[in-house]
Symmetry: C2
Subunit: 329 residues, 2 copies
């Protein structure tokens, strides 16, 4: 294998000099740089990232942590977007990514998790869809041992940034739009998980709208489950209801239930997943560009790794009405 040593020999300089050129350190003359770069070209040299990671304890090895708790097709799509977005951007930024599922961390103590990450020379972490209740992860963030970007959880300190779309505003907006298109005074709201950060925000948005518009609002917990949403709709939906759901999967379940009951009232969802095109009826929803969110998260992590301080980033969303033709590719 072509190593930095070979490059040094070819260029007639020392190993350390090659390293300096490669990493853009100062105190190297233009002339020497040229020699080194030429040697790199000639030998078609690619640095060994593993050795770099070992040596520097810093060279960009990061992990993405996915919460696979609730498996479903929708989640597949969202996670796949996250993965593709993360890995794609990471390659461009010269970061190595390893993918971790929450299940691998479950029943591990903070100490063990830290040790595991260290054993992999991981210095940065992107956490997707973290629950309010995850003690270990919260302490991991507090410890400030790693650079961390959380997606959809508002946890910011010196070493960690948070990135999300404004869930409250989005829920408010999509419900308002649906309401405008279909007169109604009574809303059945199927909320997400009790301990989810996003669920709480979305619920707030719905409550604000209800208050402003003087709507009657019935809230039930749907746990992001299509099946549960279906059952709740059977149980609680009335002919005059508008059913607003905290996720598309729940919206699909609710819509199915309404169709079975021969009630033709609007349902609106949240996420903008492809499956909405197959729900049988068009629905309003909030499209989140998951790949872009992930890509931004990687960029933010890179900034943290380069010494930046933690901060909040809010991305935009889009209100859409999804139908089959939109998702057909």
């Amino acid at each position: 294998m072509v190593s930095i040593k070979d490059v040094a020999k070819q260029a007639g300089v020392a190993i350390s000099t090659v390293s300096k050129v490669l990493n853009g350190y100062p105190n190297v003359s233009e002339e020497t740089k040229k020699k080194v770069n030429q040697a790199v070209e000639e030998l078609n040299f690619v640095p060994n990232t593993v050795a770099a990671a070992l040596s520097s304890k810093q060279s960009g090895r990061v992990a993405m942590l996915l919460n696979l708790g609730n498996i479903s097709q929708a989640v597949d799509e969202i996670h796949m977007q996250y993965i593709a977005g993360t890995i794609g951007r990471a390659v461009e930024l010269n970061l190595d990514v390893i993918t971790i599922f929450d299940s691998m961390l479950k029943s591990k103590s903070l100490d063990e998790v830290v040790r595991y990450l260290r054993s992999q020379s991981i210095t940065g972490l992107i956490i997707f869809g973290m629950s309010k209740e995850d003690r270990v992860l919260h302490r991991l963030i507090d410890a400030q041992l790693f650079k961390i970007v959380t997606v959809d959880a508002p946890l910011v300190n010196l070493c960690s940034s948070a990135i999300w779309i404004d869930q409250e505003a989005a829920q408010y907006a999509v419900a308002k739009k649906t309401l405008k298109e279909n007169a109604g005074k009574s809303i059945l709201y199927l909320a997400g998980k009790k301990n989810g950060y996003v669920s709480a925000e979305r619920l707030k948005g719905m409550q604000r709208l209800a208050e402003e518009e003087g709507l009657s609002l019935l809230v039930r917990n749907g746990e992001f489950s299509e099946r549960l949403a279906r059952e709740l709709t059977f149980r609680y939906a009335r002919k005059k209801n508008i059913v607003v759901c905290a996720s598309d999967m729940m919206a699909i379940g609710a819509m199915r239930a309404l169709m079975d009951m021969d009630i033709f009232r609007p349902v609106c969802g949240f996420d903008g997943i492809t499956l909405m095109g197959y729900a049988g009826k068009q629905m309003n929803t909030v499209r989140q560009d998951f790949a872009r969110i992930a890509s931004k998260a990687v960029e933010e992590l890179k900034r943290l790794l380069d010494g930046g301080e933690g901060r909040q980033i809010v991305l935009d969303y889009e209100l859409v009405r999804m139908k089959y033709e939109d998702v057909l590719i």
Copy 2:
């Protein structure tokens, strides 16, 4: 960080002895083993996989290579299953996995690909959904530089194994079942990609059945595209046709088209993706357990890395009839 050196000190032995114990090498007395293991416990030691990889050029770092060519929701589900299956099993077998997309390798020469893999200290590779035409990957396998497992491509040599379900038989079986349930003599077969290994096999299965049963068979290339399948169905489907598709996505497209034409004839698919539950009508299909296939692929790669020779592995499949209630979770 706790290193092997600390363990050695704690146990009162040499570094090399610790390493031998950890890796199960011979020539260590039970007594010494006990001392070392105790020290490992006490210090809560976890070996640094990065250092191990660098040092041994062997310690299980593997890559999974996904062909994301055709993005679609169905593909999301399949790939997500592949990823979860691979990573999950890899953790259990103490392998580190990095995920690579074909797009990262595109327009790279064999040399560059080899170099890239080496730069990551990767010794093993699982390739999902490889095309017949990918020159670089074929040469990579021929070169026998890495241990490789291909999923759905029959490429076997000393260093590489192949794993798949019997596509020919499965296509034959599902079409036959559909035919039995719905009398018919004339079949429209929407095939997959011209250069896919699986597409060719499935087509063979269909042709064998047509010959055996004396059916009239019209074959068109649907490229695994829902949209194209829809268009082809509009164009070629007749009232007496049974439409057999080489993938579920195409089956869904075909079914939509038939419904639009008010033709009520069966369609059958292939893959067993969740989306089939939302197609509007029940369809027969072949369920492949993608997570299990991936998990098996990891096991096989592990065997190769441990010195085993390449071989073929054929996994089983299941004929199912998919409806909404089956996919609702």
